[in-house]
Each structure stands twice: as C-alpha cells, then as structure tokens.
C-alpha cells in the first residue's frame, strides 16, 4: 500500500517534470521569450512595477489585518467575530477584476488604484487565518496560562500568537500569491506590471509577448510560495512543528 502510493507519486512527479521540460524546450525553440531578450529594460521596469504593487499592498494588508484579527478575538469583542468572518467570506465571492475596477472608479487610473484594490483583497485571507489560528489555540492552554497569573497581553504574546503563527503566515502566503496573479490585471487600471505584455499578447495574437509576461508572473508566484513555505519553517517554533506532526500521525 505504502509502496504503491510512493510509486504512483513518483510516476506523477516524473510526468509533471517531463511535461514542464517539454514546455520550456518548445517555448525556447519557438523563441517565445524573445521579448524579454529584446527589451530587457522594459522587462525589468514591468517586473519592478509588478513587485511594487504586490509588496506594498501586501505589507499594508498585514499591518491592518493581523491586528484586526487579534482585536476581534479578544474576549470583549468576541461578539463581533462572526461579523468580520462573514464579511471576509462574502468579500471573497467578489471577483478580483471587479475590486480592481471599483478602485479605479474611486481613485482614477494609476498604480494607487491597483495597490488599494490588492490591499483590500488581501485583507480577507489574512484576517481569516489570523482568527482561525488564534481560535485553534487549545482552551486548556489558555486556562493554564490564566491560572498561573499571566496577564492578557502576556497570554497574547507568549501563547496565542506563537501558536497561531503557522496559520497567520499561511494567510499572508495565500494573499501574496493571489496578489501576484491579480497584479497581472493591474494593466487594466493603468498600473503597469507584467500584465502589460500579457494583454498586448492577447490583443496582437503575439505568443512571444504572452509568454514573456505570463511565465515570469507564474515563476514569481511559485517563488513567493516557496519563500513563505521556508519562512513558515524558519519562524514557527520547533515545538509546534512537533505538535502538528503528533496530531497528524
């Protein structure tokens, strides 16, 4: 059972990497990335815009969403928790394209509309995960902490936040990955980014433009995803990783 599972996983992996290699060989032989080679300056400018939009909106979202998540999980404000979770769930049904478009409606064309839209859109997963992380902290643990005379802020800093960290980082990771994709739409509100080439490609039926925009966006998303996986490993206390493992086995 265990062996067959491993074999199947290996075969799937091999097929996947094979297809990926085939794709890149095909793309290179048809000089699909010629746009990058021909216009490196433009490429780096677009990449810079893309990354700026993602990082600024993401950082602002973390700064607001994490404290908000902490705030609604305080005993006094617990009653407002369902409201925030409800809004977060509802908000996620609104398509990212619409959020961008609405931001443009208020702020006009330009990079600030894109940053605001992505900021609003990334609040949701971060708040959700912050709340879920804090809620998942074992009640008995909090009880023990209170019983030993920890103040509320000591419980927050020493117990709740370290134990919720995995979940919070996962929220930031989701938000940033979504952001990288949504930032590709920023072209529509005149904010630049790698989306410029993708849309040019679509409009001109030019595969070189398409690929030179789409592949870097994808790689960027995968890179950020891995970076945060690593961060999760580096930042989360060892004891918690062990706890998780014990729970899953």
């Amino acid at each position: 059972m265990e062996r067959t599972n491993k074999t199947i996983a290996l075969i799937i992996k091999l097929i996947f990497w094979g297809l990926l290699a085939a794709f890149f060989v095909w793309a290179f032989t048809n000089s699909m990335f010629s746009t990058i080679v021909e216009q490196p300056d433009t490429f780096f400018r677009l990449l810079g815009e893309h990354v700026t939009i993602v990082l600024l909106s993401g950082a602002a979202a973390v700064l607001l969403a994490v404290p908000l998540g902490i705030f609604v999980t305080r005993p006094k404000f617990r009653k407002s928790e369902w409201l925030i979770i409800g809004i977060a769930n509802l908000g996620q049904t609104v398509p990212s394209l619409a959020v961008l478009a609405l931001a443009m409606g208020f702020l006009g064309i330009g990079i600030s509309a894109a940053i605001v839209a992505l900021f609003v859109y990334s609040l949701l997963p971060i708040i959700q995960n912050t709340i879920a992380g804090i809620d998942s902290v074992d009640d008995d643990m909090i009880d023990a902490a209170k019983g030993m005379g920890l103040t509320n802020s000591q419980i927050l800093w020493k117990i709740e936040l370290p134990n919720a960290l995995t979940s919070i980082i996962a929220g930031v990771r989701t938000a940033l990955v979504i952001n990288i994709g949504t930032a590709a739409l920023a072209y529509l509100v005149g904010a630049g980014g790698l989306g410029v080439w993708i849309f040019t490609g679509i409009r001109l039926f030019d595969n070189a433009f398409l690929m030179s925009g789409a592949v870097p966006v994808t790689l960027l998303a995968i890179l950020i995803d891995y970076l945060f996986k690593w961060l999760q490993f580096a930042l989360v206390p060892k004891g918690l990783r062990l706890a998780r493992k014990a729970q899953n086995s």
Partner: protein
C-alpha cells in the same frame, strides 16, 4: 493554485493555438478544470484519510470488502469535507471565470470589462454584484446538496 489565472491563460493560449483554439472558451474551460482539481482532490484525500481508524477497523472487523467499506463507511463520513472542497472550487472558479472574458470567452466578466473601458462605475458594480450573487447562489445550492447527502449522524 499557485499559478495566477491570467498567467495560466497566457501560457495556454500559445499551446492551444497549435490546434487553432488559442482564444475563446477552450482555454477558459481547461484552466477552470485544472483549478478545481486541487481543492477537490486535496479535500477528498484528507476526508477519507481522516475517517476515524476505529470506524475503519470496525468495518473490516464485520467483514466488509474494501469497496463496501469505501461506499458504506468512508464516503458517507467524508461527505462534508469533500463538499467543502467542491464549494471552494466553485466559488474560486466563478471568480476566475470573470477573468476569462479577457481572453474572449465571454461571460459576466464582460460587463465589468466594458465598465472599465467606458469608465462606468455603475456597470462595474452591476458586473461585480452579479458575479458575487452567482457565487453565493452556487455556494448555497451546493450546501443544500451537501445537506441532502450527509447522513444525519455525521452532521454536527
């Protein structure tokens, strides 16, 4: 899931244009199918994996075959989580579907796109609302189905 939707469209267009289907519904459908796989497969796997080992043991103990065990014990217990995966995939897809309009696949996203082109906030709002409402209705509908198929004892 990590692959941004527009980028996935962008990568698929050149590949599909090999068979002259570059722009239009086909890349959209393929992308949506791909996107749905991850949440559904992941949840289904977790759900069946998480069925209480004691229950599985008892099922084996009373002589159920592997197939009977899956059909009578594991799946009924796993329904809530499997359906949660289906719901996530659906809501996600309705959002991504709105972007599909940009590669000429039509759909409600078109209203939003037209709104952007004409700088018409009302149109954007109308488009956004219809997509959101569609997602909510789909979610509600799937919850109903879930409710119908979840055995009473498994509900909490």
């Amino acid at each position: 899931m990590t692959i941004p939707s527009l980028a996935l469209f962008g990568i698929m267009i050149p590949i599909l244009s090999l068979i002259n289907e570059g722009i239009g519904t086909l890349p959209a459908v393929i992308a949506l199918v791909l996107y749905s796989q991850l949440p559904i497969i992941r949840n289904t796997y977790t759900a069946i994996n998480n069925v209480d080992p004691d229950i599985r043991d008892a099922a084996n103990g009373i002589g159920l075959t592997t197939f009977q065990r899956l059909y009578k014990v594991e799946l009924p217990n796993a329904i809530p989580l499997i359906m949660a995966g289906v719901r996530t995939a659906t809501v996600l897809n309705i959002g991504v579907g709105a972007i599909a309009t940009l590669i000429g696949a039509g759909g409600l996203g078109g209203i939003i796109y037209q709104g952007i082109l004409r700088n018409n906030t009302t149109m954007i709002l109308a488009g956004a609302l219809s997509v959101a409402v569609l997602a909510l209705i789909a979610d509600l509908f799937l919850r109903l189905i879930e409710n119908l198929f979840t055995p009473k004892g498994v509900k909490k």
